[in-house]
């Protein structure tokens, strides 16, 4: 099988270079970045892979001596049920290697899932019982920096340069002009479909839907012809999966919460109730209510629930990481009897493509990822922060080697030098469909860099979807209600 069995390779090569590179790449004037972002394409990524050697221990040894004796408490967003086994192994390897490299640092790490981390971390902060360092989802950095919980921390503090990281990612760790963290990984998802399902439904098996309107049409066609769900809609509340799948649709239609998809966002005007935003919500309504062409369980589902549906041949399309291919392989290994063959057929027919555009040709995806931060001592359990130990761990995680390995199957290295490592070369050969998600990076739009963003993305947006999809409100009412809630929230109130 060829690496890119997408039928859209030419489109990828042709469009990515000319993609509208918005706030993601735009940034303050800095020294030359280690990779040329203006040339970003699958070919360029391939050409730089394996061109440089990096010695993590030597680099981090300059930040914190390798014989340093200390203690570090650390919480991080770890692997969860929807991640592939490969990633679990890399997390295990990371902590083992860190302990070997810094044998005198007593590391007490705790993994939490995406959905639990914010709640637990907020609670710990109220009781001054936080860990010394934390790795948070990209949404969280601004909230905690604006409240004064985090110490200023920039890449230079751990031996790297600011220009080693995506400018868009650096914005997510900056508040009031001060940098409070370092990106560990940055991700953009892609559009996945089952070619066999497409074929049986009378669609071109090698062609992804070009627009979101096409997604609605394809989803209905798949459902009507085959009786299965067309598109893997996700609308659960308090689950990161929901905004990661709805925001590309919202932005594609030209809408937004604010003006976050503009090149220089100001987050002043609330646009959730704009005509474009309502059109995006209407598309979800059409699929869920009018056509009944998406999983009924979308309101209580996460992406982890879509994965078995897709593997069972019961779902035609979804948005996800390249890691979903590895997840499917893991799930297939666990299947028995005829299910095993059925799963293999789905895997053979998995196709990845660019996320569809809106009616005006706008393509967008969430520029996601995670950041790592150091807490101020007064909020930490015991009232002390072992800074050298924290910096040793942060240097390690954000190094070209580990920022790549820890994002091996599903994401991309936060440190751009990771793209130049030998592990990137190996990854390009091992991880199928990686090209598509790296190709989506220039279309990435970061969440609004506001302390209110977690509530907007995890509660208000899913509530808006649920209100419209359950019929509790009309599409117009749901969008107006959500816009009102965002206005109230920005004003410091709202129930």
């Amino acid at each position: 099988m060829t690496r890119m069995k997408l039928g859209c390779g030419a489109i990828l090569r042709g469009t990515v270079v000319f993609a509208s590179i918005t706030s993601l790449i735009a940034g303050p004037a800095l020294a030359e970045p280690p990779v040329d972002l203006s040339k970003w394409s699958p070919e360029y990524v391939r050409s730089i892979a394996g061109t440089e050697e990096f010695d993590t221990a030597a680099a981090c040894g300059k930040v914190t001596p390798l014989d340093y004796k200390g203690r570090l408490t650390f919480w991080y967003q770890g692997v969860f049920e929807g991640d592939p086994d490969l990633l679990r192994q890399y997390y295990k390897d990371f902590f083992e290697t860190f302990r070997k490299t810094y044998p005198n640092i007593q590391l007490e790490e705790q993994a939490l899932t995406y959905n639990d981390l914010l709640d637990k971390f907020r609670t710990a902060l109220l009781g001054n019982a936080a860990p010394m360092a934390v790795r948070l989802q990209i949404l969280g950095g601004t909230e905690f920096a604006s409240k004064g919980y985090l110490q200023p921390l920039k890449p230079e503090d751990v031996g790297w340069k600011t220009e080693d990281f995506w400018p868009g990612a650096m914005k997510a760790v900056t508040w009031d002009g001060v940098t409070y963290g370092i990106p560990t990984n940055n991700e953009t998802m892609a559009f996945i479909w089952n070619a066999d399902v497409f074929k049986r439904a009378g669609l071109d098996p090698d062609k992804a839907p070009a627009t979101w309107d096409d997604v609605v049409k394809y989803s209905k066609q798949i459902h009507d012809k085959l009786g299965i769900a067309g598109y893997g809609l996700v609308a659960r509340k308090n689950a990161g999966n929901t905004p990661y799948r709805f925001m590309p649709q919202l932005w594609g239609y030209g809408g937004g919460v604010f003006d976050e998809s503009d090149p220089n966002p100001t987050y002043g005007e609330v646009r959730l109730n704009s005509a474009a935003s309502k059109r995006a919500l209407q598309a979800s309504y059409d699929m869920y209510v009018r056509d009944k062409s998406v999983p009924v369980s979308a309101l209580t589902n996460q992406q982890a629930d879509n994965q078995p549906l897709f593997l069972g041949g019961q779902l035609g399309m979804m948005i996800s990481h390249p890691s979903d291919y590895n997840v499917m392989l893991d799930l297939q290994k666990k299947a028995t009897g005829s299910d095993k063959d059925k799963a293999q057929t789905v895997i053979d027919n998995m196709r990845y493509g660019l996320i569809p555009t809106g009616p005006d040709g706008k393509r967008a995806v969430v520029f996601g990822g995670s950041n790592i931060h150091i807490l101020k001592p007064e909020y930490v359990d015991g009232g002390k922060v072992d800074e050298p130990a924290a910096k040793a761990l942060i240097c390690f995680w954000t190094s070209p080697e580990w920022s790549l390995k820890m994002a091996y199957a599903g994401s991309n290295p936060g440190n751009l030098n990771g793209f130049k490592t030998k592990w990137m070369k190996e990854r390009l050969n091992n991880i199928k469909f990686l090209d598509v998600t790296t190709s989506m990076l220039p279309y990435g739009i970061p969440f609004p860099a506001l302390p209110e963003s977690p509530e907007i993305m995890n509660i208000i947006i899913p509530d808006m979807l649920q209100n419209a999809l359950t019929g509790a409100m009309s599409v117009d009412q749901a969008a107006d209600d959500a816009a009102k809630k965002v206005e109230a929230l920005k004003g410091g109130g709202g129930l």
């Binding site: 909230e143 509340k237 209580t300 019961q314 509660i459 509790a472």
Partner: protein, 319 residues
Amino acid sequence: MTIVTGQAEAPRRPEPARSGMLRKVWVHRADYAYVLPAIVVMLLVIAYPIYYTVDLSFFATPPALQLKDKVFVGFDNYQAILTSDVFWRVTWNTLIWTLASTVISFALGFATALALHRDFMGRGILRAILIIPWVISAVAASYIWKWIYHSDFGVIGAILVGLGITDRPPNFIDSVGTVLPSLIVVNIWREFPFAMIMLMAGLQTVPEPLLAAAKVDGASAWQRFWHVTFPHLRNVSTVTILLLAVANFNSFIIPWIMTGGGPSNASHIWITHIYELAFGRQRWGVASAYSVLLFLILMTIGYFYVRALSGDKKEDPEA
């Protein structure tokens, strides 16, 4: 009744003139001394949090500020709660959830206890099986039920479709109309064994000679139950209902894990809503005001139940 004061052998000194409650306290001073350590611990772990929650309920805690930067707003949080649509919806959900879960769990537990009170082969095994829902972790049970109810590949849906009863799996937890009843079924499944155990213990106290005498006097099975068995179970029934009602008012695990209060707030009950306000949205002040209201409601229920429990007890003549 003999009251041990620890000073029984000492010559009685003339007691100062005291009346009512103070006199009772003085008489029972040794008893109070025994429970003092427990009271101190309770004050630390219960009274202070209650005080802090009441205090916090008068402050606004904007999500962009630390808790220490809270702003005094008087009764604004209470006013905002009582005038919000969500409050009344969540309150209605809570009442339905609590009443339905309590009444049906109790009735089912009662029926099962009566059935298991008779001697028959396999009674022990059946009793052990029926206790399982109460013994297993509520978290695990919630995840299992979520899978059983799943609107696309749930067990119930697969069986119904397989038997040709429906074309599509029924929508249990993704519909605003069916989600709450579906969760109540899970809650009853979890709770009725508790009522069953309590009432089975109560049934052991019903005197067999009394039942036999009633039978000899020609009482029917229903008359024996209503005039002999049921009166003996009055106290244990009151306690069981009180415990079930309080537990149901405070329920969290089942609705939170299975639906997170959704869809569209249709399965939010007070505790899940308070949790979301506090930990998901950081409205500590509003969440505290909600908690104070819930506390007052529970205390009122508790007061009336305690009164009902002790209503027929005579005043201690020595007190």
